[in-house]
Amino acid sequence: MNSKNSVNRFMAGLLIVVACLLLPTVQGQQADSGSGMAKTDNVTNGGQASLRGLTELDETREADLFKPVPRDRRPYKSDYVYQPPLIPHKIRDYELSANANKCLTCHSFKNAVDSGATKISVTHYESRQGQILSDVSPRRYFCLQCHVVQTDTRELISNNFKPVDSLQ
């Protein structure tokens, strides 16, 4: 009884000692492979400057400030026909999910008159096959896929884009 106990204890002690010896080597290996991954002496972006400027691949660029969103104003002019118009008002915290669509509380056919908002056009009721549905088409449900707020900021690259003749 007693001898069996002490054998058990000896085995347990041995296991702990072995474990202690092994642990540093395992950790060491991990540390090695980690530093191997982080070696990036020869990684550059080849001097390629993008709209975000020239940033090496292993650097994290400082984020830009948020662009101010103008508060409610008159609608923007379109630049071409069939352009999804820009949103001329703030949309902070407007829930757009399977549960609720805040945009439609003003823009739907039913609510547009009372809210004074532009009614969504019938294209928003069209299925992919060109069929007119009785409610907003699923492919037009998530408004922000196509409509975005305009921010009050200068253009990223100067350009001489002009609207089509008929809209100039």
């Binding site: 508060r71 409610d72 104003r73 008002h89 703030k90 902070r92 915290d93 829930e95 999910s97 399977a98 549960n99 609720a100 669509n101 805040k102 439609l104 509380t105 003003c106 739907s108 609510n111 809210s115 004074g116 908002a117 409610d135 907003v136």
Partner: protein
């Protein structure tokens, strides 16, 4: 000697001592009462049961905004006038029962019950003309020249005439919404 016979018999202590005991006792009682009321008004208290909701509010304007004023749970859910407050607190004791029953203790159960709870809250605010909103947002001091075009159109008509109250138009100002199909004005 029983409590009642003690209470009904004159004490040997001077009137000053008796009054003093009553005075100090009163202060302690009132202090404890108020501390209790305050403690059950803190966000930490609500979050012990409503953790998912407390997480949601962080993105909304009532948590982070340019002026740094914020609304906590009790600002919107517990009336200020103290009789109403007490009624609401007593009502809220049923939340303890619901808590014990575990009506909203998993995300799935909460999602299923959320519409029901939201309707109750809208109804409550409709009944008291959105008093909690008005504690901070007073219509009389709204400067229309400072508001957006859409705000002016609605506030100067339906709100000014009393046809509608804040929560009729402003749902989900601090939370994600439940399924809104069938709610008036929503799809």
């Amino acid at each position: 000697m029983t409590f009642w016979s003690r209470l009904s018999r004159p004490s040997k202590a001077s009137a000053g001592v008796l009054l003093g005991l009553g005075f100090v006792g009163g202060i302690l009682f009132w202090g404890a009462f108020n501390t209790g009321m305050e403690a059950t008004n803190t966000e930490a208290f609500c979050s012990s049961c409503h953790a998912p909701i407390v997480a949601e509010i962080r993105e909304t304007i009532h948590y982070s905004n340019r002026s740094g004023v914020r609304a906590i749970c009790s600002d919107c859910h517990v009336p200020h006038a103290w009789t109403d407050k007490l009624v609401r607190k007593v009502q809220a004791s049923k939340e303890l029962v619901a808590f014990a029953l575990g009506t909203i203790n998993t995300p799935e159960k909460f999602r299923a019950r959320r519409g029901h709870l939201a309707h109750r809250e809208w109804q409550r605010m409709k009944n008291n003309d959105s008093q909690e909103c008005r504690n901070c947002h007073n219509f009389d001091f709204m400067d229309f020249s400072e508001q957006g075009r859409r705000s002016i159109t609605q506030h100067s008509t339906a709100l000014a005439s009393g046809d509608k109250t804040c929560v009729d138009c402003h749902k989900g100002v601090a939370h994600r919404l439940p399924n809104m199909s069938g709610v008036e004005g929503w799809q």
